[in-house]
Subunit: 228 residues, 2 copies
DNA sequence: CGTTAACTTTGCAGATGTTAACTTTCCTTA
DNA sequence: TAAGGAAAGTTAACATCTGCAAAGTTAACG
C-alpha cells in the first residue's frame, strides 16, 4: 500500500520525478571532482541512486550527458563572473569604471578556474565532432560561451569612454579573452600549477595590465607585425 | 638457427633493441591521433608489435608512459617554434627584429596547436599529482615548458631595444605566453573551433598586436587596475 | 656455462557503453 | 470508475576495453 507513496516514509518512488536535472547535477559534481573523464553514465546514475539504463530515457548516450555537464559548467562560470561584477562598485570616471569591470570579469574568470578546475576543464571541452553545426555566426560562439557577452558589453563601454582605440575594437573580445583564458589554463593545468598565491596575483595583474594597455591606442599601434 | 637473426629475414628478433624509444614514438603517434586519452599501455605495445607487459620493462606504469609522451609532445612544439624562428630573416632595426621574432614565436606556437591538436593537448596535460616537486623555481617551469626559454630571450632583446618598458619586464613572459596559449586553446578546443582561415589569421594578428602594444610602456601604463 | 635482462603467455579484476526485454506507475480516455 | 496505453524505471546480459601481476621462455653477455 505504501508503494506509491511519493512523500517521505521509506523507499523512494519508482518515478524519480526530476531525473534529468538530477543527472545533470550529478554529472556536474562528477566533473567538479574528477574532470570531464569522470562524467560517465554509470557514475551519474550511481550518484542519483538509479539504474544506469534509466539514464537513456533522458540522454541519448554518454556524449549527450557530457554535453549537458559542459553547459552546466559554462553556466556556473558565467554565474561566478556575474556575481563578482555585481559586487563591484563602479569607479566615478566612465573609462575607469569600464577598465575596472573588464579586470573584474577577468579576475572572476580566473577565480572560477582555480576554484573549480574540474568544471573549468569540462566547460571548455572540445565540442564532440558530430554536434557541430558549421555556423560561424557570432551568436553561435555566444551560445557556447556566455562570458563572451560580458566581454562585448564591457568593451563597448570601454570604446564609448574613449579608451579603446576604434580600429582595435573588432577583435578586442578575442584578444582579451585569449589572454585571460590562457592565464587561467596555465595556472590550472600548466606549468604554473603550484604557484604561491602572492606570485599568482602578480601574474594576474601583469596579464590584465597588458590587456588593458594593449587595447588602448598608443605609440605602438603601428607595430611592425608582418603576417606570414 | 635463424632465430637469433637481428637483421632482415622474417621474424623480428626477440629483443627489440630500442623498445623504449619505439614506445615513446608510438605513444606520441597515439596522442597525435587521439589525444592523451589514447595513450594506453596496450595500444602503444600493439603499435610496436610487442606484448603489453613488455612495456613494464621500460615504464613503471601507464602514467609514466604518458609522462614520456607529454615530454615528447612538448619537445615537438619547441621544435616547430625553433624551425619557424630560424627561417625568419631579421628586420634591420633591432626593435623591429625583436618584435618580429616575438610574433613569429607566437605564430609557430599557434600553428603547432592547430596542426597537431592531439599533441598540443598532451603537451599541456596537467601534471599528475604525485610527480609534483613543489619547487617554484623558474628552472622548473623552464624544464616543463621549453617555449618559455625562447620567450625569455626574445623579451630580453625587446627590453634591450628599448621597446619593452622596464617595469613591465618581470612578468612579461607570463602575460605574453598567456595570450598566445589562450588563443591557441580557444582555436583548437574552444568556441572558435571551426573558424574560417581568414578570420583566424585576423584573430591571431589582433592578439599578437595586443601583446606587443601591451608590453610597451605607453600612456596607459598607469591604468586603474585595482587589485581585489 | 650460468646469470640476468628482455620479452611472452596467461589470466585476473574492474571498468565502461549499450541493447533487449520486463515491470511499475501514471495519466488519459471511454 | 475501470481499462489500457505510454512513460519511466529495473534486471540481465553482452562486448569491449583497461591496468597490472605471476610465472615461464628466449637470448645476450661476461
Amino acid at each position: 500500500m505504501n508503494s506509491s507513496e511519493s512523500s517521505d516514509e521509506g523507499g523512494r518512488p519508482y518515478h524519480h520525478g526530476d531525473l534529468r536535472n538530477a543527472l545533470v547535477d550529478a554529472a556536474a559534481t562528477l566533473a567538479e571532482e574528477g574532470g570531464p573523464d569522470a562524467v560517465t553514465i554509470r557514475a551519474a546514475a550511481r550518484a542519483v541512486g538509479v539504474t544506469p539504463t534509466a539514464t537513456y530515457r533522458h540522454f541519448a548516450n554518454q556524449a549527450d550527458l557530457l554535453h549537458a555537464a559542459k553547459h552546466e559548467a559554462m553556466d556556473r562560470l558565467a554565474g561566478t563572473i556575474l556575481d563578482l561584477l555585481a559586487s563591484e562598485k563602479p569607479a566615478p570616471h566612465p573609462a575607469e569604471a569600464a577598465v575596472q569591470r573588464l579586470a573584474a570579469a577577468g579576475r572572476g574568470y580566473i577565480r572560477f578556474a582555480l576554484a573549480q578546475p574540474g568544471l573549468f576543464r569540462t566547460a571548455f571541452l572540445r565540442p564532440h565532432s558530430g554536434d557541430a553545426h558549421p555556423s560561424t555566426e557570432i551568436s553561435a560562439i555566444l551560445a557556447e560561451a556566455p562570458p563572451y557577452a560580458f566581454l562585448t558589453t564591457v568593451l563597448d563601454d570601454l570604446r564609448a569612454a574613449g579608451w579603446l582605440a576604434p580600429e582595435l575594437r573588432p577583435d578586442a573580445e578575442t584578444a582579451a579573452w585569449a589572454a585571460v583564458h590562457g592565464l587561467a589554463v596555465l595556472l590550472v593545468d600548466g606549468p604554473y600549477g603550484d604557484c604561491p598565491d602572492t606570485e599568482r596575483d602578480r601574474l594576474i595583474n601583469a596579464t590584465l595590465g597588458m590587456v588593458v594597455r594593449g587595447l588602448s591606442g598608443g605609440p605602438a599601434s603601428d607595430a611592425p607585425l608582418n603576417a606570414e
